[in-house]
Symmetry: C2
């Protein structure tokens, strides 16, 4: 990360550099959101309006680019995740969490898929994938009553239902709409906790 000393009017050359860098990440996001799961550096460069050499001036390797993209995505969804629940009681809060996750997963789906299909050839992406699954689990642990948490089969079932890959399967593999997918997750989880 470039540490800028924040002068009164920053260096125009440094601003140009930062514009290039952001354009590259923007291009990556646009290409993946547009449905191409495996953009090449050349494609990203072309969309960003820079040369391929410049892509590798700003990002040491493709993994760095995925990393920046992930940070951008997480910066976007963190405010949603960190919002306190308004519901009274864990059931109402669980409902809210499911609702939020549906929205979040829908938003980041192409990016998550793009990263996940590369995870076997990238230590960084594999660790990041595992970290996300871990966050999914701890998010539930912080919410569910101890009786459910202690029942590992039940807890794992809820964790499975509330995870990104399950959402992706409902939406992409089973072809459900956002509403239908949300209905399926709600139904399954309600049967498990009741």
């Amino acid at each position: 990360m470039i540490q800028t000393p924040s002068p009164r009017h920053p260096d125009g050359r440094k601003q140009r550099s930062e514009r290039s860098r952001q354009a590259i990440v923007d291009a990556m996001l646009e290409i993946i959101m547009g449905g191409k799961m495996e953009p090449s550096a050349a494609e990203i460069a072309e969309k960003a309006g820079v040369s391929a050499r410049t892509v590798f001036r700003h990002f040491e390797e493709m993994d760095s680019l995925y990393s920046e993209m992930t940070e951008r995505m997480e910066a976007e969804i963190m405010p949603i995740i960190q919002q306190p629940f308004t519901g009274e009681g864990w059931r109402a809060q669980l409902d809210q969490m499911i609702e939020r996750r549906a929205m979040i997963y829908e938003r980041v789906m192409p990016l998550k898929i793009a990263a996940s299909i590369r995870r076997f050839s990238s230590d960084y992406l594999m660790l990041n994938y595992e970290r996300f699954v871990h966050l999914e689990r701890t998010g539930l642990e912080s919410l569910l009553p101890s009786a459910i948490r202690k029942d590992s089969t039940l807890f794992s079932a809820i964790e499975m239902c509330a995870g990104f890959q399950t959402w992706r399967r409902l939406r992409q593999d089973q072809g459900l709409t956002t509403q239908q997918a949300a209905d399926v997750v709600r139904l399954t989880i309600s049967r498990l906790v009741d």
Copy 2:
């Protein structure tokens, strides 16, 4: 597929060719089952004890190799799938189907993952992926009573629980044992159908 006229004693040269071909598919399976999700043609050739050129003599492209691997896998699991259910009633048969699927999914998991991470850059693998999901669905449709089939939310929930990607998530992402994963699937489906 090579159409052999089945002579009394087949041509030694043709037998040699067939041995090479099987060695290549065997090598592919061994490398993937050994945990390397993205074997290169060079790696496959080396393990098969043939040259890389020979790999591309027998298989026009890598997709053809995945195709043969898939056929090999399906030939192996078809007898299990086609076995008639012994249980009385759809609930008992559903239990048996879940049991069989757990076994089948466990067996083919590395191959399925290896194929699935390439599906966005291969029409063949994408179609094959979608065909598999379709088979998962129709397998359930042939078994479940019409009341459940008509409730699309409920049916989709069961379909989700009984699918390969859910099994993969439980085993790989959530780190459950085969037994624990089967317990989760049984619990979730029993809550849905009861």
